[in-house]
Every structure is written in C-alpha cells, then in structure tokens.
C-alpha cells in the first residue's frame, strides 16, 4: 500500500530550509516548494516552483502510480530539474508571488539573460 504524501510532508524540507540556510541538500533529490534562481550572474531573479504529481485511486485513496516531480521556471515547464536544483534558493510562497509581480513591474527584470545594472534606472517603492 502506498499512500500519497501530505502537503506538509512534501514541503517539510522547504520549510526547514527557509529558517536554516545550511540545511543539507542532496544533489539528485529536489524538494517541493517555492524558489528563486538566476539564469546568469547578476541577472534578475526568476521564480521556480517544484511540485509533485500524484495519481490517487479514488476507491482506495492510495497512489495508483509513482509520484512525479514537476518543475516550472517562470511558469514554464522545466524538464532538467536536477541541473538547476543546486542553484535554487528557497523563498516563501508570498515572496514567490511577489517575484512574479516584480518581474512584471520592474523593467530591469524583463531580460533573464542580461545582468542588472541598478545604476541605470532607480527602483521605486
């Protein structure tokens, strides 16, 4: 019998990582949660979401298939999750949604592959 992990279990590592920056991180074990990363050095933050797809049998309440990791970078599906995992910085869900808003409103954040020069345009409240 395989039961689907709860939301709390799936986000346990992420919750601990938010308060402990030195938490152990295994290279090939991405964890569910909300993250940010840069595509280039000094580039703008990009939001990353890691979730798990669970097929649950409605009759038994158990997993009908293996859990599958899903990753979205800036809302777009990303297959190479292991390649970017070590570059992801855990953030809160609120900060994740704020990051989407900032990328929309701050012109300097529009190009993911161009380092940001904060001296060109001021950041306003």
């Amino acid at each position: 019998m395989r039961y689907a992990r709860s939301i709390e279990e799936l986000h346990q590592w992420h919750q601990e990582a938010l308060s402990n920056p030195d938490i152990e991180r295994h290279e090939i074990e991405p964890q569910c949660g909300w993250y940010k990363m840069r595509r280039v050095k000094l580039g703008p933050w990009v939001p990353v979401l890691i979730t798990v797809e669970q097929d649950i049998d409605p009759d038994t309440g158990q997993l009908a298939d293996d859990e599958r990791m899903r990753c979205e970078v800036d809302g777009i599906n990303e297959d190479k999750i292991e390649e970017i995992w070590s570059h992801l910085k855990p953030i809160s869900e609120a900060a994740f949604h704020q990051l989407f808003e900032n990328r929309r409103s701050i012109p300097a954040m529009k190009d993911d592959y161009t380092p940001i020069n904060l001296a060109l345009t001021p950041i306003t409240p």
Partner: protein, 260 residues
C-alpha cells in the same frame, strides 16, 4: 595716398567670421557627459523622494527594493566619481607639471633665506647686547650727574647763591634727560640698505615642555580636547578584537545600529 590693397587682402575673410568667439577657450570638462549624469541623478532623486515619503518600511518586498535602490545609488555614485576623476586628471597632471617646474626654484629661495636669517639674528643679538651694556653705563653716569647736580643745588640754596642754584637745576634736568634717553629700549632690528627691503627683527616665541605628563594631564583633564582624545583611544580598543575592554576603567559601551 593709401597703400595699395593686394589680392590676398581682398579674399581673406576676418578671423572672427571663421570661428565663434571663445573657440580657443573650451570648458574644462565635457558638458554633454555631465548633462547625461545630471539627468540620471535627477531621476534617482525623484525615486529617493518616493522612498522617503513612505516614512517607514513595512514589508520584506519594500525592504529588498530599498536595498536595490541603495545599490543603484552607490553604483551611480561610482560611475559619476570615475568620470569626475577622468575629467580632472589632465588638469591635475598639468598642475603637477607646473609645480614640478616651479617648486625647485621656490625651495632654493626659501632655503637660502632660512640659512641667512640666523646670521642676521645672531648679529642683531650681539649688537643689542653691546648696546644695552653701553646704555646701562650711560644711564648710571647720567644718574650720578643728576645726583651731584642735586647736591650742588642744595648747597647753592643754603648759600643763597642764586647763580649756582640755577646752573645746578639746569645740570640736574640735563642729566635726568640723559638718563631717560639711556633707559629707552634697544632697537633689535636691521633695516634695508637700499630702502627697498623689509626690516628684519628678532622675536622670541615660547612653548611648553612637558616634564611630568601625569601632572599636566590632571591639569587639563576636563578640557574638551582631552575628552575627545580619550574617547578616540577607548573606542579604538573597544572595536579591536585583541583588546579586553573590561580592563579599560571609566567607560561604558554604547551601540549604534545603522544600515550598511
């Protein structure tokens, strides 16, 4: 009859018509570059006002954006300062070249005068001492004459010798005048031989020599300058990693929080 006008003079235009006035005196820096910076700085000032108008920062997002704003201010400051230094360098280099060319001559002149002044001072001092000795003797002689004249006057008075009395009074006055002249201060200066040079005089200056530092410190212990020095020394030790601040008597530690 007027001088003939040559073909060249007819054709050649006046110099002022070729180039604008002041074309040989350009501004010391690029106006265009500066204008670019002024525009960017103005934009940053407007944004900074928007931040300051908030009065307080209440959210993580604002705190992070304000941090980026400060990074922007610092980055722009660095750009403007780098440009400033680049614009200033040719002028600094020119100034240094002028200094390098002129200063050796100035040094020679100053050193020459500084080496000569002690010779004059020594002469003035020697001469003044001789003069003072001479005047001392003259004053003593004059006082003696005045005393003798006083005695003669008394004797003439007693003998009702009016003629002798008048002479004695006159002699006494003359002697007193001589004594006064001899007691006047001796001149300690040397004038100009030609009339064009400044008079050189000697002057004495006084300075303290600290024989007992503790006594001097106790005397000045409440002076603001002394408090400043003590604060500076104690603060340096409080901030040093290898100093045990508990061993410093008479202080307390204050902490100030600032963003950096």
């Amino acid at each position: 009859m007027n001088a003939p006008i040559t073909p060249d003079e007819k054709i050649k235009p006046k110099q002022a018509e070729l180039a604008g006035l002041g074309h040989n005196n350009p501004p010391p820096f690029s106006q265009e570059k500066l204008a670019g910076f002024v525009e960017r700085v103005t934009e940053f000032m407007k944004a900074n006002k928007a931040w300051l108008d908030l009065k307080q920062i209440e959210t993580d997002d604002h705190a992070e954006k304000a941090t980026d704003m400060i990074a922007g201010l610092r980055g722009l400051y660095k750009e403007v300062d780098t440009a400033r230094k680049a614009e200033k360098k040719p002028h600094d280099d020119a100034g240094k070249a002028v200094q390098a060319a002129y200063t050796p001559q100035l040094d020679k002149l100053k050193t020459a005068a500084d080496k000569l002044k002690p010779l004059i001072a020594s002469y003035i001092d020697k001469k003044a001492k001789a003069e003072e000795e001479k005047k001392r003797k003259e004053e003593a002689e004059a006082r003696e004459k005045a005393r003798l004249a006083e005695e003669a006057a008394k004797k003439a008075e007693e003998e009702n010798d009016v003629g002798a009395l008048v002479e004695a009074e006159a002699a006494k006055k003359a002697a007193e005048k001589e004594a006064k002249k001899a007691s006047a201060p001796v001149k300690k200066s040397v004038g100009s031989a030609t009339g064009a040079g400044r008079t050189i005089s000697t002057r004495k200056s006084r300075h303290a020599v600290v024989e007992n530092p503790l006594q001097v410190f106790m005397y000045y212990r409440d002076h603001p300058d002394v408090i400043d020095v003590l604060t500076r020394l104690a603060t340096a030790d409080v901030r040093a990693k290898d100093v045990d601040e508990t061993k410093i008597p008479g202080i307390s530690i204050a902490e100030k929080v600032s963003a950096a």
